[in-house]
Symmetry: C3
Subunit: 262 residues, 3 copies
Amino acid sequence: MLIETLCGREAAQTLALMRAHSPLVHCMTNDVVQGFTANVLLALGASAAMVIDDDEAAQFSTMAGALLINVGTLTHARERAMRAAIGSAVSAGTPWVLDPVAVGALTLRTAFAHDALALRPAAVRGNASEILALAGASSGGRGVDSTDSALAALPAAQALARRYGAVVAVTGEVDYLTDGERVLSVEGGHPVMTRVVGTGCALSAVAAACCALPGDRLTHVGAACAIMARAGEQAARQSRGPGSFVPAFLDALWSLNGEALA
Amino acid sequence: MLIETLCGREAAQTLALMRAHSPLVHCMTNDVVQGFTANVLLALGASAAMVIDDDEAAQFSTMAGALLINVGTLTHARERAMRAAIGSAVSAGTPWVLDPVAVGALTLRTAFAHDALALRPAAVRGNASEILALAGASSGGRGVDSTDSALAALPAAQALARRYGAVVAVTGEVDYLTDGERVLSVEGGHPVMTRVVGTGCALSAVAAACCALPGDRLTHVGAACAIMARAGEQAARQSRGPGSFVPAFLDALWSLNGEALA
Amino acid sequence: MLIETLCGREAAQTLALMRAHSPLVHCMTNDVVQGFTANVLLALGASAAMVIDDDEAAQFSTMAGALLINVGTLTHARERAMRAAIGSAVSAGTPWVLDPVAVGALTLRTAFAHDALALRPAAVRGNASEILALAGASSGGRGVDSTDSALAALPAAQALARRYGAVVAVTGEVDYLTDGERVLSVEGGHPVMTRVVGTGCALSAVAAACCALPGDRLTHVGAACAIMARAGEQAARQSRGPGSFVPAFLDALWSLNGEALA
């Protein structure tokens, strides 16, 4: 299996497109990370709006450039609204992205995520445990902490990608992405990112923004991983812990340039 | 039409009253901005509490100095609780403020906001698209991003103010406020504020806190705009992007003095 | 009555255990403080997950090291999920902690908190007004702001502790903790902590994490108070207001060592 390394110049092109197009992402995400997710998108030049009533969510997903579905704090009510939004997004041709937080460990979200896959997300972003669980393999995950390495979940990611026509990203110390044919890897980031809530959830939102851009989707989602990793490294150098990391990270996303990515 | 400029000394007087009275604001706001909204109020010396059960919301709005209604993530359940809280606030003489986030673009909130106006808010704070939509004019808004200039929405603001007896604030690069008779303008702020989620929503919360203070309501709501604008300018000078802007902004609100406002 | 002062070396031992065990806390907390609560736990080396569907909450509280129940934005739906989670936690032997935000002032949460006590929390953490209300004494609290001093509520805390077998912490300028027999006091902290939303709620989450650790529960919950107080003092020295306090506080929790606690 050939694993390509994402080229920095490609990530820089995606970032330039992001700032030029300013995609509006309809974020149906968990209750914990909403502010941080919006600020990450805004720092990158994209826009975010959270709309959660069934009818409004269905309306809004046709106006947005992309729809993010994150099941972190799923409820039956939220699930109904997400189904309405996805249905409407699919009809309108709006790409949608699935973040299967803790799928495998908990029942409501696992059943929903499996159903949702049939509605063909543009991309899926999860850790190894989540991707293994989505693909039907067993997993020992406990919530958002993956207990499997990303590489171990790559075959599951490839199977999912082929079955549902999605870009599947398994993120961890090294991120692996596949559209079922090609495989990309993205290195980088910093361990302190695991001590800040929402970095993975925000990456999924950035991936959704990237799916709204014209061009190759696998490269764009890989660019989302690279953008977050580079900004994370910069922020880690300029901060003294997970607290000062957050403002430094948003500043780094804001000022990130092609040189830093290349 | 005469447009007065809000005098810095008046804004300073409002700020002094805020710190002396420490109004408690019952914030029924959207899920994205709750923490930031509370921190803005706390930094200014006010207090905030979010209470959302129907019965408790009705109880609490009689104990609070003001009630904020922000429809950003409206649901049918939240709408019921908001109606209960507004009804109770009106009976108790508690002033309430409406932030009509994305009204015009989405159906549930648009119908609710129109209904709610009949319950006579003390103030309404929105961008141009939202104020135009509330007044029944058409708008091309997409969520929280206004596509119309604030000045263009001033006639709509005046019509709303007269019809419902409210102070109406249309905010944008320049903010315009009216009680139907007088018109105030407030300049300032900084573009980075549009890259941080919740600055507009938090302004509405500060406007609500101001409506709890004794004195002229139009001046007080104008002071809310001026306080946020001055703190935003100070924070922009002391930060390197939207990430470091947030702590700098809260610090600036905390240490803002009459001199800086004048 | 003998009031012991918590020894710094004991707090340091609790902190070392926290980092070694990395307890996973199932946080069912209010909508306002979720991100901050998670970041506080992560900075201390613990983990956090918010799971709120009835069935999933019942599943997850058996996987977690501890369960936090905070009634700040209680609704009937959330109450059902909390009852399911507590029931499941009790069956599994997972310790759970009650934060009775604004109990006494508002009806739904007051009734629920009284019911919940019968399910024997490992610990209860509240301000004086809340602890007095829980114990059936009258109180003039207005939401999260306590109008009574912590010491005045100590007899109520002792009565609660004896009746329900819980550690009860009354926090204020000085914190008092009791298991019904012994009484500990913890001094410190900084007034700016009252100008940042969620410091009390996050303390309850840290107390929950501490209840997952092996050893004396009264000492551990006292250590939670001491850890937050010491980090708060450090952060206050390194910040210029409530905005810069937040990142400095999380950094201080991250880098806190036994020397600083002793």
